[in-house]
């Protein structure tokens, strides 16, 4: 019960979009970009999303659309783009051939690094810094995926249709958070700790967050034990949680 178009939105904004945070949080990511000329890569999915990743000064940022990119990777369908993420499709740029070395020497190692943090080896998780970075990146990916599912997936749109305007804070106590902002039943995820919000769902520790993301503990049990604390407009949380249930289906 997933669809390729929604998956493409998740893969672009939630998965590749997490490169922004990888470059911020993981020193080895920013090291890969050190002393490199700024470059922008556009992903243009026919019948799906379109965005540009810009790498400059050891950082990465994502913007909607790809009109101004230096390297453009067109995809004829959401399925083809999803194939890129699965590793079954090799992209062919439509412009920016002189920058192809970046794709091979920096971009691919960066996505490999992202994969290392997102699908980590259990041994790596024993390092507290790795654990924190990995879990934070998961939180950001999940937060953005919630917005994409609420805006694109048919069942997710039903849930979003029941969310009133305002923000939901989803995060770790004294740690990272995402803001799920709703306006006219369209969702936007912002990867920061919001100052104001109408509802919040907070994990008591980064360990609880990870256990929930990995499905090793049950969310309702965590609410019962106080490891997850909900406050505010319960109907917003109820519907965001219904979308959150679908994130697992897409990102499994």
């Amino acid at each position: 019960m997933t669809d390729q178009k929604t998956m493409a939105y998740i893969n672009l904004y939630a998965v590749l979009g997490t490169l922004e945070n990888l470059c911020e949080l993981a020193p080895e990511a920013s090291a890969l970009l050190k002393n490199k000329k700024p470059i922008s890569i556009g992903f243009d999915v026919k019948g799906g999303p379109s965005a540009t990743l810009t790498f400059a000064n050891g950082r990465c940022r994502m913007e909607q659309g790809c009109d101004k990119c230096q390297v453009k990777l067109p995809f004829s369908s959401p399925e083809k783009f999803n194939g890129l993420i699965d590793g079954t499709v090799t992209p062919i740029p439509s412009k920016g051939f002189t920058h192809l070395s970046f794709l091979l020497k920096q971009f691919t190692p960066l996505t490999d690094l992202l994969n290392k943090y997102m699908r980590p080896d259990p041994e790596d998780l024993k390092d507290p810094d790795f654990f924190r970075i990995s879990t934070t990146l998961m939180l950001y990916t999940i937060g953005v995926a919630i917005a994409q599912i609420g805006n694109n997936d048919e069942i997710g749109k039903f849930s979003a249709s029941n969310i009133v305007d305002g923000s939901v804070k989803l995060g770790v106590k004294d740690g990272p958070a995402v803001e799920i902002r709703c306006k006219d039943h369209r969702l936007l995820a912002l990867k920061h700790v919001p100052e104001t919000f109408r509802a919040s769902m907070m994990f008591d520790s980064i360990e609880t967050a990870r256990a929930l993301f990995e499905g090793t503990v049950n969310a309702l049990e965590c609410v019962g034990t106080g490891k997850v604390e909900m406050r505010g407009l319960a109907s917003m949380l109820d519907n965001v949680n219904r979308i959150l249930d679908r994130v697992a289906i897409y990102l499994a």
Binding site: F158, G224, L233
Partner: protein
Amino acid sequence: MSKTFPLYDTTKSNEWYARAVKVIPAGVYGHLGSAEGLFIPVNRWPRFAEKAQGSYFWDVDGNRYIDYMCAYGPNVLGYNDPDVDAAALEQLKLGNCTTSPGKVMVECAELLTDTVATADWAFFAKNGNDATQGAILTARAHTHRKKLIFFKGFYHGVSPMVQKIDYPGVTPEDVANNIYLPWDNIELFKQTVEENKGEIAALIAQPYDHGNFYDNKYPMEGFWKEIRRICTENEIVLIIDDVRAGFRLDLQGSDHYFGFEADIICFCKALANGYNMSAFCGKDFLKGAAAGLSYTGSYWMSSVPFAACIACINKMKAIDAPALFRKLGTELTEGLKKTAAENGFDLVVSGAPALFYLRIANDDSLMLHQEWIAECVNRGAFFASHHNHFINASLTHEDINLTLEIADDAFKTVAKNHPELF
């Protein structure tokens, strides 16, 4: 001089919860659990009860609570009502779950059809969901149609067809024949019926909008009369889900209270003062369809609940329970509003006094409301965060006064915790 109340210790409740969560999904699943019941924050709430009497229950730590949830409705006369319990015990000595149903089932059906305005017959089951599901099946069997109209904000039980597409375990096919319309919009209802002419089996609705998370709303003037007319003209079965409000507004049914007649009406909570049974009652033209259903259960014709039901209904009649609930509910909610105002809070009360819904409107997130509710619960007045409440007949003026004193202390505590606001 305002009174202060000590905060309850819920250590044993939490210990029992830790045991429960090992062997029961979510520890306590559903509306009595901490997630769906919105225990915010969880450490301020009781998880398990030790005993109950009248308007009170005691948790496993020995804390006493004035109970305004009444087990989410079933406690209508007071826990352990002596008349109902005596009738139940007497029947228990004769027999309960037997191969042939007890004759008390017939007596119970006769009483219901004599009491409920629209009832020509009664079909018995166990839970509210059994009643709403049976009503829908009856409507579909009678009309040979598949579509159903619901008013948004509804809750009609837990069968997949009355859950929503984004609920766990529900498939798009389960709800493919459901049409969701806003409450109180006759024009849209009319248009929808026109667009689906000959396809709609039933409208299932609560008698007024007593959904969760928002102020409850009565129907606008003439709403039900017009809906009744459209349903009749289009041979749509009008089902009233009176599981929650039944007998608390009107012993003849909430449709009677609002001046119209349903084709089928569903009851559960207030039927038997906590003895487990439900019923859907209908007009004669639907009796054959109900008879033909493949719909039954191991305990649906157990005799003890029928005996309890008869005693409960007779007692509700004798004391004019709906009038008592209105009086007690009004006294309580007016007192709560006054206490709130004295402490700088804007407490909005909506719905029927017997089923009052509370909301503090000083902020737009309900966080102040949740804090106040937790302070009340932790001092011994059990309210729910975002659900309508229930009045029971054993509630006294003294209970209400105690509640207002607790509410006052709770308001003062919340105000003290928010110097930026008060």
